[in-house]
Symmetry: C2
């Protein structure tokens, strides 16, 4: 018996990834673990991809529905997309091969709020779930599962799937046991309040409790997660972070934020990391802050270590290779400072609203009136997905978006007359920040928002074009609430498609 599999019955189910994958068939829906490249199964998906390729080579159909927590890794999304093995992808992805197949129309992609996923699956809105394929760190003598480096939607998949395949990954530190907090509400219509009053509150147990009779295979692995390195912080990110932190100080001064702030949520990526770095290198004048967020990032480890943060709640690790080494080495020290929850709880509207989260997310483009596109390039082509951004933006106390003012070497303006896809409406976006400055949109009517965004957020190269559009829209639009010239609302995008640049020069 492996040192990680302490349940006698389940130990007898140990087999190879290939044997386990052989149970999965064309048309099945499979709920895989995995969130931001942490805690996804390493072996079964690759074996399954091989099996799918062989079937295709024989001229047989073989495609499955791939449901996860969020993004995964080349070994899962990449391998299955590469062999055209995915019919439907739910609820988020960031994989280059998967993305290409979605944008060529070969994969159906259902891009839904991460906090909604649990309800969709639990109540059968997505159809039947045939398999859960879930990485865990260990199996206890009683058959309980110690989760891995992400929780994601695993509890729901384990509950709802007809059959369960477990991967027990010896690479994950055994000492992670205790960091997770798994809670299950009553089912509707008997749901109770989620009893979280502070980011660090523990309300459940550190284990998945499952029906062990559903387990058809246990596969042993010893393989690292995909952990992407951060780029060094550049001047643009540093400028954005500085505007963000100055704004927090301003809000404290105005009495609209306590000195200890409110729990922070921070999207994935380099700008978010620059913000966290800013709070660490110019220490915040107060200790005991907290994070109620989706993923644990490198910058948060620094802030926990220096005492700025007392706790961080999340659903997954999203660390650099150095960050994960540090976390895994010192995991025992982090057990009382990190809580890893199901994504339905880490992103729960109820808790986000109650705690008054300060949200900070990136975007693809924003428009003059504060609408935000987080998902689509030029309106049609998916980038990643909405993820949890709306879970925090619709419910936060103070909702901010951060972005460089331009992209692609200055060819794209991230501020456009009208966004080509809307993921966050004007009603939800309070503050817009670029390296140029910050626009506080709270309480402003649309025309006033537009002037703030042009003056403070747009890049000087695009400011005259935006001002020209706005002025002409104010003169010629069908109404003055949200002046638009529908015939040229996408002129920036069309110019980009025609010339490779949104600029008119």
């Amino acid at each position: 018996m492996s040192s990680r599999i302490h349940h006698a019955g389940l130990a007898q189910k140990v087999m190879s990834g290939a044997d386990a994958a052989a149970m999965i068939h064309h048309g099945d829906n499979v709920g895989f673990s995995g969130f931001t490249g942490a805690g996804y199964p390493k072996d079964v998906p690759r074996a399954l991809a091989g099996r799918i390729k062989a079937a295709h080579d024989r001229g047989e159909e073989f495609r499955i529905g791939v449901w996860t927590g969020a993004s995964t890794a080349p070994e899962l999304d990449g391998a299955l997309a590469e062999v055209d093995g995915i019919s439907t992808r739910v609820p988020y992805q960031s994989d280059p091969v998967t993305r290409a197949k979605i944008n060529s129309g070969d994969i159906d992609y259902v891009d839904i709020h991460l906090s909604h996923l649990n309800q969709y699956v639990e109540h059968g809105f997505m159809g039947r779930l045939d398999f859960a394929v879930v990485e865990v760190t260990a199996i206890t003598p009683g058959g309980r599962l110690v989760p891995s480096a992400s929780v994601g939607c695993n509890r729901t998949y384990l509950d709802k799937a007809d059959k369960i395949i477990l991967e027990v990954n010896a690479w994950q530190p055994a000492e992670i046991e205790g960091v997770h907090d798994i809670w299950r509400n009553e089912t509707i219509p008997n749901r109770h309040p989620v009893p979280i009053l502070h980011p660090g509150d523990r309300i459940g147990t550190p284990y998945f409790e499952i029906d062990t009779s559903k387990v058809v295979a246990v596969v042993e692995t010893d393989a690292p997660d995909r952990n992407s390195p951060f780029k060094p912080i550049d001047d643009t990110s540093r400028a954005i972070a500085s505007h963000f932190i100055d704004f927090l100080k301003h809000e404290v001064k105005k009495g609209r934020l306590p000195k200890k702030l409110l729990p922070l949520q921070s999207g994935v990526g380099n700008i978010a990391n620059a913000v966290l770095d800013g709070l660490h290198t110019s220490p915040w004048a107060g200790k005991g802050l907290g994070a109620y967020t989706e993923v644990l990032q490198d910058g948060m480890l620094d802030l926990i270590d220096d005492g700025t943060f007392s706790v961080a709640s999340c659903t997954a690790l999203s660390l650099s290779p150095e960050g994960v080494e540090r976390f895994n080495r010192d995991v025992v020290d982090y057990l009382d400072k990190v809580v890893m929850r199901p994504q339905s709880i880490s992103n729960h509207p109820e808790v986000v609203r109650r705690l008054g989260v300060i949200s900070c997310n990136g975007l693809i483009e924003a428009d003059l009136y504060g609408n935000v596109n987080s998902t689509h390039v030029i309106g049609s082509r998916i980038q990643n997905g909405i993820g949890g951004s709306a879970d925090f933006t619709h419910h936060g106390y103070l909702t901010t978006f951060v972005t460089p003012s331009t992209a692609k070497g200055g060819a794209l303006s991230c501020i456009v007359p009208m966004v080509s896809h809307v993921d966050h409406t004007e009603h939800d976006v309070m503050v817009m920040i670029t390296e140029q400055g910050l626009a506080d949109l709270r309480g402003l009517a649309p025309r006033k928002r537009a002037q703030q965004i042009i003056d403070h957020c747009a890049h000087p190269d695009f400011r005259p074009l935006l001002q020209d559009y706005f002025d002409r829209a104010c003169a010629g639009a069908w109404g003055q609430q949200t002046p638009h010239l529908l015939g040229e609302a996408f002129s920036f995008h069309q110019r980009f498609m025609e010339t490779g640049s949104m600029s008119s020069r």
Copy 2:
């Protein structure tokens, strides 16, 4: 002392509406009561409008910020807009004069979620609140206020305003005392769960508790609310209602809804009323349903009276003249079946999500991919506002939108290639219903949603045009996740502006 003013100190503050209005000055922000034409002050706003007109006639500036619960009536919105007395209007309106002045650019309109308003005001995001002008039904000997026919944002306005003007309206039935449930959470960061587990749960007291020393005037009135008659139910509304109810039955059969359903929310208007009428005239096969909704409508009285509904939670009445007569006459019988709450609670994301509300709202236009425009005509011109529609749509268990497939005698298609304004994103909209049929969008990728909407929701006159756009977008778009041709995404709208019809004939 009036029979409605039982507090000695406040009885001494009784004065005319004109004397009370004389205390309000240019630049003040005023929080008025009023929600869907119920419970707004009848006298002070008109007197104030007279005072503003006189000031303008003398060449003096005089404009105020007008904050309410939601829409009001000609005596408030109309009177103040008519004399150009409104600088900023928050958070919702449906008044023709106000709407015209917003669309001409004379009034700044901040259109925000009704569930967010309380937080915006409480934490000073909107600036200082100078006055609360609130209609009540009575004042108790201890100085507590019996609310009127709406609660709206009154508690917050009474708490936050520097000064309070009360209107005591003898037209409202004194027996309404007890129907309201006023609850106050701790302030952030000490907020607790909202302890509502069932739509009828009472968690507070039936009174506003105020600092009586802030009351500067009490005005006695005896005047009816604005109560708009419903149009007789037409065939289109009946067809939409029938699709909606058939769908509920289908979901019960599939085991995705309990036989007693889940709490219903229903937008204002004739289609919503047709749905309620449908549940009454072909009785639902089960009793004890409930409503967790924004406003109490005529159809709900029928459903309460026939036992289909055991309870309805709301923040305001929105009844016809006959409906209000019936409610006021039998109010004692409704006291244990109707709960009227602050709009921050009637629309609270936490409760809507926990209870699993089935939402049903109208719209201006929807697009192929399920994005919904609830607010703007041809992208720029405001109609009413988002109101509470997103409070229920973002958090509901089952979220539906209902609309005739065409408007303006067939000149406008309510299904367009791309909506000209987005209030509800593709991520939140589950079911689309027109008189043509129903599209269940749950779990569908965007291209599949589009075909469902064309086939089941679009009017036959516009179906070929929509199919043509969709087919060419699938052939020529920049990506296949959400195929759009940005150069002609608004061609329907442009044709309407040029020819008066979206049709190409």
